[in-house]
């Protein structure tokens, strides 16, 4: 029996690992599931970019002396941000991995104890959290070790320990949320919480750029005055661990292991109870809808647009996804207001950022609309020009992107009319380009329900979208300085990029 159970456990672990790898392959782009070299290629490109950015950041980072209190405080703040992001990412993964996979009939009918299922799912969450943090953090630590000393390698086990702690906290939070608000709402709430955590970190990162170094100086002064206080000793533990303090590293690792053990021992029973609830959560009470006066009959395009809007507005989960796409415009708007109003910055500096961000939001919304379409084949069998289908999607989605882009655009128009007008043109072009790139390249990838399994658009499409948007920004930027020739050349470059992306699209039937 023991051999059977351990064999089953190994089978579940292998199954989870296979599914995870296929998820990564899907992220890399189409038809890569069985081609590891393509996945490796995408990872190599991404790693090179991250190494390059890390190198640039290090060039401006100064000496980073571990004994310098300012370095300790900077590291403490950044590690706190990293930990919040890790918890938010782990919370999202946990809500999905624990209760949204829909395979509990299979898991609980297999000859293995339910605790094993929790262990395997927890390892899955830990793996994703570690991979995300490691992808961004490891290149920086490796460069630090090469350029500034091997003691920075202590950051690698530190990331491991932080990922383990974040996993334990996130699983505990996910189970608590299930208890409080139920299975169906937990994933939406976890995603909203994750987005808000990301937003908070984004705002906090901008804090020094907006308000200057004052708040950080106050923290440094307090730390210099009381370095041995219990509060500062605990708060700077991860920072000291990262700079090579073996005792501090041991303390962080021990805390992480303790939290993981407590989570596993304390929550196994609750996990099984919730999983039984999750298995029956698909059944819903009937929801009646009021008959609307809005007509589907005006034209096929109007019918599609009305359907898109109605489906989006009635689906809290989909709505939360869309709001999360748009929420990142809020700090940009806040920075726009503050810096331009206080005269600290030229309004034109924010134009390219606004253009790229709005295009990405429109692209993200298109991905959501395409991959959340439960009956995408219906429109394909309808007697309408494929171009009308694309226009209907643009019409249904762009109003949301425009709604979120409007406040910063209006502010720019008030403070700097020319920068505002150029932004307006750039944002319009970016929204159209973002939507078109996704329409051209997503249809074969955006399988029905895919978005409900994982929220991210394939990396290949994201990179194409980013390229197109950067070209739009390149075209619009010289206009601000009145360099019309450069703007025309940029516009030609942007048009050529879009033409290449159009020509490279997968063919779908008319």
């Amino acid at each position: 029996m023991k051999a059977l159970v351990s064999g089953a456990t190994r089978a579940v672990l292998a199954h989870e690992a296979r599914l995870s790898l296929r998820g990564v392959a899907d992220m890399a782009g189409p038809k890569t599931a069985m081609r590891p070299w393509r996945i490796a290629g995408v990872l190599a490109v991404v790693s090179t970019i991250i190494f390059g950015v890390s190198h640039l950041l290090l060039m401006t980072a100064g000496q980073l002396d571990p004994a310098d209190p300012r370095v300790q405080i900077t590291l403490t703040i950044n590690l706190a941000f990293l930990f919040v992001l890790m918890i938010s990412a782990a919370l999202d993964s946990a809500a999905y991995a624990l209760y949204a996979r829909g395979d509990y009939d299979l898991m609980f009918s297999a000859p293995l104890p339910p605790q094993t299922v929790l262990l395997v799912r927890a390892l899955n969450v830990f793996g994703f959290t570690l991979a995300k943090a490691g992808l961004y953090g490891a290149p920086m630590l490796i460069l630090l070790a090469v350029q500034r000393g091997a003691h920075w390698l202590a950051g690698l086990p530190l990331i491991l320990a932080l990922a383990l702690s974040a996993t334990a906290i996130a699983i505990g939070l996910a189970m608590g949320m299930v208890r409080l608000i139920g299975i169906r709402s937990t994933r939406v709430a976890a995603q909203v919480a994750a987005a808000l955590a990301g937003l908070l970190v984004l705002v906090m990162v901008q804090w020094e750029a907006i308000f200057g170094p004052g708040p950080k100086d106050a923290l440094v002064a307090d730390y210099i005055a009381n370095p041995q206080s219990l509060g500062w000793q605990l708060a700077t533990l991860p920072a000291r661990a990262m700079t090579g303090d073996g005792v501090a590293l041991g303390g962080v690792v021990a805390c992480a292991v303790l939290m993981a053990v407590l989570m596993f021992v304390g929550l196994a029973e609750s996990f099984v109870r919730n999983a039984v609830l999750a298995a029956g959560s698909a059944a819903t009470a009937p929801v009646r809808a009021r008959r609307s006066r809005a007509s589907f009959g005006a034209s096929p395009m109007a019918a599609l647009m009305l359907k898109e809007r109605r489906v989006i507005l009635r689906d809290p989960w989909l709505l939360s996804q869309i709001l999360m796409q748009c929420i990142f415009l809020i700090p940009v708007a806040a920075v726009t207001v503050y810096r331009v109003a206080s005269g600290a910055d030229d309004a034109s500096a924010l134009v390219p950022v606004l253009i790229v961000l709005c295009g990405q939001i429109a692209g993200g919304l298109t991905w959501i609309a395409l991959s959340a379409d439960e009956a995408s084949e219906l429109a394909l069998t309808a007697p309408m020009d494929p171009r009308l289908r694309a226009r209907a999607r643009i019409g249904a989605i762009s109003w949301l992107a425009v709604m979120f882009a409007a406040p910063p655009l209006m502010l720019l128009l008030v403070f700097d009319a020319w920068a505002g007008l150029v932004s307006l043109l750039g944002v319009a072009c970016a929204i159209i380009c973002g939507i078109l790139v996704n329409i051209w390249h997503q249809p074969r990838l955006a399988r029905t329900g895919m978005i409900r399994r994982r929220m991210k658009s394939p990396i290949s499409v994201t990179l194409m979208e980013l390229l197109a948007l950067m070209m739009v920004a390149v075209a619009l930027w010289p206009l601000l300085a009145g360099d019309y020739l450069a703007a025309m050349l940029g516009a030609l470059l942007a048009a050529a990029t879009m033409a290449v992306l159009y020509a490279a699209r997968p063919r779908v039937p008319a």
């Binding site: 059944a283 819903t284 009470a285 009937p286 929801v287 009646r288 809808a289 009021r290 008959r291 609307s292 007509s295 589907f296 009959g297 005006a298 034209s299 096929p300 109007a302 019918a303 599609l304 009305l306 359907k307 109605r310 489906v311 009635r314 689906d315 439960e374 009956a375 084949e377 219906l378 429109a379 394909l380 069998t381 309808a382 007697p383 309408m384 020009d385 063919r507 779908v508 039937p509 008319a510």
Partner: protein, 249 residues
Amino acid sequence: MSGHDALVVRGLVKRFGGFTAVNGLDLAVRRGELYALLGPNGAGKTTSLRIVAGLLSPDAGEISICGINRLRDPVAAKRVVAWLPDEPMVYDKLTPVEYLDFVAGLWQVEPAATKRRREALLETLDLTRVADQRCEGFSKGMRQKVALAGALIHEPELLILDEPLTGLDASMARHVKELLQARVATGVTVILTTHILEVAERLSDRIGIIRNGRLVCEGTMAELRDGGASQGSTLEDVFLDVVAREEAA
């Protein structure tokens, strides 16, 4: 191509990489006929019908739907076709009424006709009770009925159904069969695939058996029995015999 034919397919080929799913399919279905397309799993039935419905592009071949060239004028061809896959195409967040209005909008049915047909279909398919409930809580059978109503609301000349009785209870399955026969009686052409051979035997005017992407046997039930395809007396015997002979060849 005959003026009486609702669907004519000539030399249809579809490849997915190195795999040929449809391999030179020739098929003619007459107007007002109920045609059952049978075949083992992976024979190319669904792929062929998805090409006819406009969901896939063929690598070679010609398709004529009610005299309209499907490849040259896809929009006109789609206007007279309805496609009902085995997984019902409905939206969880729409009600049956909204879904039918949406489909009617896509096919540009007049509002007055939409309302009249919608109420009739809801009544016929026993959906009136749930007409204003969102589809998210519906069983597969209920969703299948909503999708079938959607396929019928624009009154297509050619109705293509992939496993239409999957998920329906016995009484509703009989009801749907009667509904299809009534449509055929008014001149509508129905092509269906099914693994329930008894349904094909009782319901269809003609039966085609497809294997490895080619039509290997076709005719009325009597022709299949008498034409030397098999010495057996049921469609199941004929089907298994044809498939076994093709495998041996």
